[in-house]
Structure formats: C-alpha cells, structure tokens
Chain length 330, copies 2
DNA sequence: GCCGTTGCTGTAAACGCTTACACGCAAGTG
DNA sequence: CACTTGCGTGTAAGCGTTTACAGCAACGGC
C-alpha cells in the first residue's frame, strides 16, 4: 500500500498525490477530492520513513530525562507528548538512569533516529554529548542544566522564588529555627535551593542559625538527614527540604521518632509531586509546574527548529509556595 | 554523512560497509577493520529511516497505555523500554487518556511509523482498532484486555490469586466483616477482582456478609466509597480495594472520620504502586509486578515478530499479597 | 495570430540504505 | 589441466516519498 497505488486508483501521478497529502502546492479541488477518496478507500497512510528520508525532517522529537519512575517526570513527559502529538510530532524518550553512559546511548539513539530536536532535563548532561548534538545541527533545549550552546535554548527554573516564599511563610508563623535538607551538592539546582535558604536567613539576620543536612533527593536520604536533625540539642521547629521525596522521608523519620507534623515540626517540600497532597498531613510544598515547563520547552524547541531565532533563547519558570497542612505557627 | 563517504574513505563499496555494519555476511577481517575505522573517524551513524525503508523493519515498538501520569504505568514503561533499548529497539509511547478517540490516534501513529509491533495495556481497546493492526500484520500483545487475535498474544493477570491471599490473610486475623471497594464495572479486570472477593467469601460460607461499594480506581472514588461503608450499621472491620489509589482514598476517609488504620479498620490495596509503602501506615497490598508484566509482554512481542509461533500465545502473571502495616488481627 | 502568463499536472531524480546477483580469484577435485 | 566450489567484494535495483523541472492547456493582451 503506497502512494503509487493511490495514484493509480485516482488516475493521477504520484506527485499529485503527494501534493494533495501535503497541500504544499495548489491542486485542483476536483483532483484533490478524487485523491482523497482513493486514500480513504485504500486506507492509505503515508510512510513516514520515506518522507523523512527525502525531506530531512523526521517529525520526531527526543526527550531525555533521568528516570520516568521518578514521580517528578511523568507529568513533564505527558505534557510534552501532548504538545507534540497535537502538532503531528512523535516523541521518543530516553531514560538516563542517572548514568552518564546511558545518557550517551540516549544521544546516540536520538541522532540515529534523526530527531528534529531534543529536550533534555537531566543532570548527567556531559558537555561532550551536547557537542555531539550541536555538531549535527540538532536543536536542543536544556531544562535546568545551565548550559546554552549554539543551537540551543535554556530554561531556567526560579528555585529561589519558592524558597523565599517558604521562608517568609515560616517566618510569619514565628519559626526561627529553620533547617534545610539539601540535595546532592554536585547538582547546581540543589545548590541554588540551598543558597536561597541561606540568603533567606541572612536577609533576616539569622545567618548564624543555619542548619543544613545533606540528603540525596530520595526518600532514604531525607529520612537519614531528618534523624540527624532530631538529634540536635536545639532541634529545628521547621524544615524545608530540597524536594518532595526528601520531605516524605523526613516525615517518616519525624513520625517514627514519636513527634508530630505540624504540631512539633513544620515541614515544607519542593516540586509538588502528585503524592505530596496525599501524605498525612498533606504536605505544604513548592509548586514547580511540569506543565509549564514542558510547554515552554516545547515552544522553545519549535522556535529553534523553525529557526525563529528570536530575541531570547532563555526562559524562566517560576516556583511558588502552596500551603497545605504540614506547617503551623508556634 | 552517509554510507557512501564511509565507503570512499575505507576504499570499499557501500555494500561492504553495509555488510560490516550489519555483520550479515562474511567480510574479511582486515576489510571490516578498515571500514570500522572509517566509521569511527567520520563519526558515522547509519540513518535508520533509510534502513527501515528498504528492510521493512523499523526497529520501533509501540506501547499504548492509558496515562503515564497514573502511578501504575511508569514502571511498566521503564521495564519495557529497558528491554527494547537493550536490543536496539526504540519505543514510542501512546497515551490514550482513557479516551477511545485518542486510542484511535495512537494506533494510527503506530501504523504510520511502521512499528514492528505494539503492546497494549489499556481498557479502551476498541475491536475495530485491533482489526486495524492485525489487518496490517502488525504483531500485537494485549496485556489484560482479554482479546486475542490472529497476530496477537494475550497476557492475563491472575488477579484472583492475590485477592484470595488477601482474604486468607484477613481471615487468619479473625476478620469476618470484610468489605470490597470495586473498580469501574465496565472493566473486565475490575469485575474479576470483585468476583474473586465474592468467591472468597463464598468458599468460607459468608456469602451473605458481602459488602461491596463501587469506586473508580481513583483516590476520590475510594474516599467516597469508604464514607459509605463507614455509615453502615455494622461497618466492616477490614476493607480490600480494587487498586492502591482507591485504598489511599479510603485511608484518607477513615482517618478523616477519626478512626485509625489498622486499629479500627484493616485495609488492603492492589497493585503495589511505589507510594503504597509510603502511606501512614504503610499499605498492605497485592503486588502486581510491572517488571514481570513488561518482560513477558516484550518477550511475547518479540516471539510474534520473529514468527516463533510457539505452542502458547497466552501468558499469565501472578499477583501476591505483601504484608505491611495496614492490617491487624481483631 | 502570437506570446507571455497562469494554473495544474506529470516525469524523474534524488534521499541513504540493503541485498540479489554477478564477478574474480584462490583452493580443492577428478 | 579444466572443473567446480566458495569466499569476498562490487554493481545496481529498489524501498516510498518529495520536489525541481518540464509540459501543456487556457487565457488575455497586443
């Protein structure tokens, strides 16, 4: 089943069929109707691979993330895919598993499949791989990985905003002993969050009151860090965490120690993953809209692909505090 | 950058380059080495679209699911993709959003992209669409949707097993007033679970003690159903739910009513989504291994593609109770 | 009546690969 | 020595599209 058979049935040339499909040039309405009918009757779908081969455009986009199993990502993937499908593009997903080697594999697959562009949200973005993409003129959008290249756009996430709102919130609830459970320090984004916490303390003249424990952005690390905090002579009255998984771990550790949230300790997460409002109590956290992130990334990528190299290739996504039940005044 | 340039650099014909890449026929080791070096030097990646066009195999697989945002799916997707990537296959994902129309779109995209096979795990599988796939000779694997066709395999999930274990468990803890919160009754898989509950009661001579409320496999429906159960004159001492989201909703409703789990009511979920062990208390639930499901589906699909039409095209995945802290003896 | 336009359609050459077939050559066979 | 055989390689056709170019009819202006 190919364009030739359609042409034969509609009694036109293959060129006319192609033109009808792509409505690239004017085809007489009567002819087009005949072609369309033939297509209908034969249930013909054009072969995308042949199209790609000659046109150079695959109508496929790559999306590289760390791990679809991490609850941060599914919404991002969904929004991105929705955008793509709406515009007739396909998305192929690469899971790096936090592993630079697999990241390299992802990039390779993207290149082999001749994707029209790649969006990357992962911390394993080795500069060499980025080069690989730009060298092949593949437009690339980085979400929160900081490096902008020639053919690429960069989407920053305004972590500080949300942390500041959280600090303000805790402050207005009279908390003064506020701890922070950080993420892995090799992640720039984790450092940014910690720094926002420190600057929040500093601006209130409380620099000497900082309490920082290191987590790993996973539940286990959050629990462990919280246990350390609970051993402190003056334990914190409130804790901000670098992400929600950390907060969930911390919550478990607090309850396990026989304390309550928010009565004994207020707790704030980060990301607003879907389970954040299902914890007991529902977690006060900082929303980072994956939808907004995906929509922005997609738009940026599309602009890059169409070479609308507009004035800015830099975007910013805000974060905001959402109050639920894990914080309370003292 | 194409095979021709590689051929020129290695001073061989394009055929030899192709043969080296695919090691399909014998190439003299020395020649192959020269070719490989040229590939290396030029950083050549073969164009998959051209390959597909001539070979008819796209090395792409389709995976159609309801919604990647539903916590049941990410692990399934991940395991399936891992399998695929390991074997040099790409996966394209279709989200139906529980919507038959979008399901049709997914199928269409799969056909257009000429996937080598499709795995489907979604309840919107319209027979007409299935026909569309089999008509085009696209091997198809259905997970838990019940319909087997010509070019397809079927993977059943043994829901009854897990439910029976759960009943047995509750029974041994002296529970006799056991309720069940069911899923949407248009889903065969939901009916199967309910029926297993009923048969569990019956085999213990407790048919007259059945308490069934209908949920929707979402949190909200679970909460609502639980509220109804709590209003009963003799409220249940234990509740089994059709899936974990339902259980989480039920848990919220129980706590909200001022009761405790498991002290006042024992609760059992189904699926073992990643958050099931993070609830307070950690949820006793029934494991349905997504990894096993994905691995089986992939193997079945591969067999179908290779036309290893062996003795069986039917597979079964077991389910088992995993005890955590949401159940207790009375 | 001639010529330049305009509008539609057809012809055929790519796109980058795989593979059937052919070919040359060295080794084995009678 | 002529022969088959088999291995390694090259030639070229073809996969299903898109698209540059050409062709052709109808039309209007002169």
């Amino acid at each position: 089943m190919n364009i030739k058979e359609v042409a034969k049935r509609a009694k036109v040339s293959t060129a006319t069929v192609s033109r009808t499909i792509n409505d690239s040039e004017k085809v007489r309405p009567g002819t087009a109707a005949r072609v369309r009918q033939a297509i209908e009757e034969l249930n013909f779908y054009p072969n995308t691979h042949a199209r790609t081969l000659v046109s150079g455009r695959s109508r496929m986009l790559g999306l590289i993330i760390s791990d679809i199993t991490n609850p941060f990502y599914p919404e991002l993937v969904k929004s991105f895919e929705d955008q793509a499908v709406e515009r007739g593009q396909e998305v192929i997903i690469g899971n790096t598993d936090y592993n630079p080697k697999r990241m390299a594999g992802c990039v390779r697959r993207m290149v082999e499949r001749k994707v029209d562009g790649v969006a990357i949200m992962t911390s394993e973005a080795d500069p060499a791989l980025v080069t690989e993409l730009t060298r092949r003129n593949i437009p690339t959008v980085f979400m929160d990985t900081g490096k902008t290249g020639l053919h690429s756009a960069n989407i920053r996430i305004d972590y500080a905003q949300g942390i500041h709102e959280a600090m303000q919130h805790l402050f207005s609830l009279n908390h003064r002993r506020i701890a922070f459970i950080a993420g892995p320090m090799n992640l720039e984004s984790a450092r940014t969050r910690r720094d926002a916490y420190l600057s929040g303390l500093k601006s209130r003249g409380l620099s000497d009151r900082s309490m920082i424990e290191k987590g790993d952005h996973r539940i286990e690390g959050g629990a462990m860090a919280m246990r350390s905090l609970l051993k402190l002579p003056h334990r914190p009255t409130a804790v901000i965490t670098s992400n929600d998984l950390t907060a969930i771990g911390a919550l478990g550790a607090i309850l396990h120690a026989g304390l309550r949230v928010p009565e004994d300790i207020s707790l704030i997460g980060f990301d607003d993953i879907s389970f954040a409002h299902l914890t007991q109590p529902p977690l006060t956290t900082i929303i980072l809209s994956r939808t907004q992130l995906a929509v922005t990334a997609f738009a940026a990528l599309e602009a890059l692909i169409r070479k609308d190299e507009g004035p800015h290739t830099d975007y910013s996504i805000p974060t905001h505090l959402v109050m639920r039940a894990s914080t309370r005044a003292i």
